[in-house]
Symmetry: C2
Subunit: 255 residues, 2 copies
């Protein structure tokens, strides 16, 4: 007979707790990175089992309002980082547009041989030597996304001896006279993989957004492939699309 009258079709208990937890965050009563109550704390406070408390906190996470760190606690998410994909092609845009300084840590940098997919994207033969490097991007020490880029080694000799903790676009401009002109971009949602989670300080299966880009020079030749995986709750992409006005002949309807 526990709470008999109201057990009709009311929202589940954990969802009510979610509402209580959400309110102070949305009201701004809690600053970014402030600690949320622990699972056991919520369980005590609302007199539910720990698993129910956990489900409530996980829902808050799913809404992007908080993130969890293993064996540390849950914390209020900072603001999203806006990335204008049509203004600039690399991270300089992110860093400038949002007024946020991005810290870059080089995770790995090595020479590899192009597999089928990379070879095709970069218009080179399979087995061609490529430079590949993986970097972790943070803002105020808070991990945001991981990026791996590949370029043709012969085109950018000695690239890996440069300081990779800067905008790649700029680096290639200043040292190799190669300018980014256009880029094809692909955005999709996927879960963060196990190895990526470790770098991002997340638990596996955290929802993320993958961004792939092929960067081309003035001649339309691709010279750089990039693949980013963002913490989903921190990503925000903007773009400006222009419907081709010079080419209305393609319209086919008879009206």
């Amino acid at each position: 007979m526990t709470s008999a009258q109201s057990t009709k079709t009311r929202s589940p208990r954990f969802r009510q707790i979610v509402d209580c937890l959400r309110a102070p965050i949305l009201e701004g009563a809690l600053p970014a990175h402030a600690a949320l109550p622990s699972e056991r704390g919520v369980a005590r406070e609302y007199n539910v089992s720990r698993m129910t408390a956990r489900r409530a906190l996980e829902a808050i996470e799913a809404e992007g309002l908080a993130y969890s760190e293993d064996r540390r606690g849950r914390f209020v998410s900072p603001q999203r980082l806006k990335y204008d994909v049509s203004k600039m092609i690399s991270l300089a845009a992110v860093s400038q547009a949002s007024g946020t300084k991005l810290e870059i840590e080089v995770i790995e940098a090595k020479e590899i041989k192009a597999d089928a997919q990379l070879a095709k994207s970069l218009s080179v033969n399979m087995g061609e030597a490529l430079y590949g490097y993986t970097r972790l991007f943070r803002s105020n020490g808070h991990a945001i996304f991981i990026e791996t880029e590949w370029v043709v080694a012969s085109q950018f000799p000695d690239l890996l001896n440069h300081d990779l903790r800067q905008s790649t676009t700029r680096l290639l401009e200043q040292n190799y006279n190669t300018y980014a002109h256009s880029g094809d971009i692909l955005i999709r949602m996927r879960a963060v993989l196990a190895d990526e989670s470790k770098l991002l300080g997340l638990t596996p299966n955290h929802p993320g957004i993958e961004l792939e880009q092929v960067i081309c020079d003035d001649a339309g030749r691709p010279f750089c492939i990039g693949r980013q995986i963002w913490r989903g709750e921190l990503a925000e992409f903007s773009a400006r699309a222009i419907v081709n006005p010079q080419e209305p002949g393609r319209m086919k309807h008879s009206g």
Copy 2:
């Protein structure tokens, strides 16, 4: 003493099950919408508790490989639907580009008064009459995203009496001589809300991708605001970015 020797730091049990469940899906052994084993089924088969089985299946969901329907089961996800945001601004692109026919169901259509945000985006005064309509998009009966659009009522008189189960862009072109020229697009990840879940046939908190767009005419005047919420595992957005080559003066570095 249950499985003593191997309890060092190996991956958790549910993750091993995930690997087993994932394999046949990735190999294509299971067609789209094929049923996965039930939670109780997995629990029996792998000799784990139902909650552990559930966690494994939820992980498969998080990876976008399957979706669940309440009290029906879990099923293999179909292919993603590609949406080129830079080619065209409305759904005609989706429908054509992917070669998939989209079924459109009108959920709601009514006249409202512009709130502060809508008024600002559409460059009209607050309280101005708008037409707002919500449509559900499916492919082969499978819900993919919900879209709500708002237009200025006085600009498109009688709009709601037209058949809204078609491309809005086309409708406005043919009947009101208004052509989409450019659009600002915003993409971000967020959980699917409760009311949206019902329409999409999902459980709340399903990870989704929100796409907002402001569509402008040749004169740069905004005439339509659209907001879509996609099932995250089904969305894939592409874009072509072109770095402005006529305007290199903005570069500020001293090199």
